[in-house]
């Protein structure tokens, strides 16, 4: 049993040497979570914008629903996607279970409500300000939604970021639908959970460092982008 200090030392060596196994896990994590976030943005942002400017029956219910789904438990999403993709499930014939694609699907489902709800908030604030001008110019509601998405593009990085943070940090969904198979579906969070339970603290810690570094640097990048954009466009 290594001491805590030794664990930190070994972890740091793994990171600084860019250990191949470590790098593979980090790369898969990024690939899965970035793809899931991208899909969530493509689906969730238009939904959020239409919820903000649209007038149709059931809009309020949908707003409450999407806000509520922000707190969707990852294990439950994992379970539902597992049932869909398992051999006997409706999408079983595609053979996607225990593949990175299954993990992308699960995370995209998990993150879409977050992106949609946060987008709705941003676009609703803009709509309050722009509404009369856009209507005066003759913009339809769908057109206004598209315009406000584009106009709020820099504020909306926050929505994408929150989604990515959620995706990259969750364990439950990817564990269930990915199966944590070494070299195939093992990502940072599932490895940390596994290695910690096995007692291999250095690898778990090294991944913990990387995970925190990734989240921090993505946030820093988004913060810098917003700052630049505000100076550039006001």
């Amino acid at each position: 049993m290594t001491t805590l200090g030794d664990s930190f030392l070994t972890a740091w060596q793994l990171v600084s040497l860019a250990d191949a196994r470590l790098a593979g896990i980090v790369w898969l994590s990024l690939r899965v979570s970035l793809t899931a976030t991208l899909i969530a943005c493509i689906v969730g942002m238009p939904i959020g914008a239409l919820l903000a400017v649209g007038r149709f029956p059931g809009r309020r219910i949908l707003v409450v629903l999407f806000n509520g789904l922000m707190g969707l438990p990852p294990v439950v999403v994992g379970l539902l996607v597992y049932l869909l993709l398992s051999r006997a499930g409706p999408l079983g014939s595609f053979g996607l279970l225990f593949s990175p694609t299954a993990m992308v699907i699960a995370q995209a489902i998990l993150v879409t409500p977050i992106v949609a709800a946060l987008t709705r908030q941003v676009v609703a604030d803009e709509w309050a300000e722009y509404r009369e001008q856009l209507r005066s110019l003759g913009a339809s509601r769908a057109r206004a939604a598209a315009t406000l998405l584009w106009d709020g593009r820099f504020s909306l990085t926050t929505a994408g970021l929150a989604g990515f943070g959620r995706a990259i940090a969750e364990v439950g969904a990817v564990m269930i639908v990915g199966g944590n198979i070494d070299g195939v579906t093992r990502v940072m969070t599932t490895t940390i959970a596994l290695e910690t339970s096995k007692g291999d603290l250095p690898l778990a810690l090294a991944l913990g460092f990387v995970l925190i570094a990734v989240v921090l640097s993505v946030n820093a990048f988004a913060y810098a982008l917003r700052g630049w954009a505000e100076k550039r466009w006001g």
Binding site: E132, Q133, S136, L137, G138, R143, D151, R232, W233, G234
Partner: protein
């Protein structure tokens, strides 16, 4: 003068109080200024005419169907260049890209801002933003331009410039309907004054007559209070 808009017993209530009440009038003058104390319902009347609000009662009858544009007290600029802000309005009207670009550039030149075409619109001064808003409206070549206190938050130099532009838009044949708190401006721009108080039309008179011989006590009081 041929009337272009008949307003018949127009009313709008909000949470029980009348904002506009039983307004009946015919608009015929090429340049009409709506005057009245704060909260008289001037902006609401303009929004009802422009179609941004739906009347609670009564109706508007367009004797001549007029294409409209509106300029607001606070200019709303999209996060893009000044030129593209003007193009946006044309785009919504379905004009093709080359024509949009040409008409937007022309409008920007007419308001004296061709040099800032590529600048981010939201970083322009308040006066410049209002001129871009005027250019955006002008580029649409509306038959009726509605302006809601277009100079209320501007400095005197910008106010003069905006007045000059409104004068040119009027000279190009566009009907003007506006509100202002600036009585000098009302005198300079208006041909006809509509005086409104507590949601009701009190007077509709030629500009010279309104300022020299206001017919009602309310208008007399208003002129006394507003004249420095």
């Amino acid at each position: 003068m041929d009337g272009w808009l008949d307003i018949d017993h127009l009313g709008l209530r909000e949470s029980g109080t009348h904002i506009v009440e039983d307004v009946t009038l015919t608009l015929a003058a090429p340049r009409t200024v709506v005057l009245g104390p704060n909260g008289a319902g001037k902006s609401t009347l303009l929004r009802l005419i422009h179609g941004l609000l739906h009347p609670g009662s009564g109706r508007l009858t367009w004797l001549k169907p007029l294409s409209q544009a509106m300029v607001f007290q606070r200019p709303i600029m999209l996060r893009t260049t000044a030129l593209e802000n003007i193009e946006y309005g044309l785009k919504l009207q379905g004009h093709a890209a080359p024509e949009r670009r040409r008409r937007a550039a022309e409008a920007l030149t007419r308001v004296g801002l061709e040099s800032i075409a590529g600048r981010p619109a939201r970083l322009l001064s308040g006066g410049e933003q209002q001129r871009v808003a005027l250019a955006r409206a002008w580029a649409l070549e509306p038959e009726l331009l509605i302006l809601d206190e277009p100079t209320a938050s501007l400095d005197p130099a910008s106010t003069r410039e905006v007045e000059r532009i409104i004068g040119e838009i009027a000279a190009s044949g566009t009907r003007i309907l506006m509100t202002t708190h600036n009585l000098g401006q009302a005198k300079r721009i208006a041909e006809e004054i509509i005086f409104i108080d507590r949601g009701r039309i009190v007077e509709q008179t030629a500009v010279a007559r309104f300022f020299t011989l206001p017919q009602t006590e309310a208008a007399q009081r208003f002129l006394q209070e507003e004249t420095p």
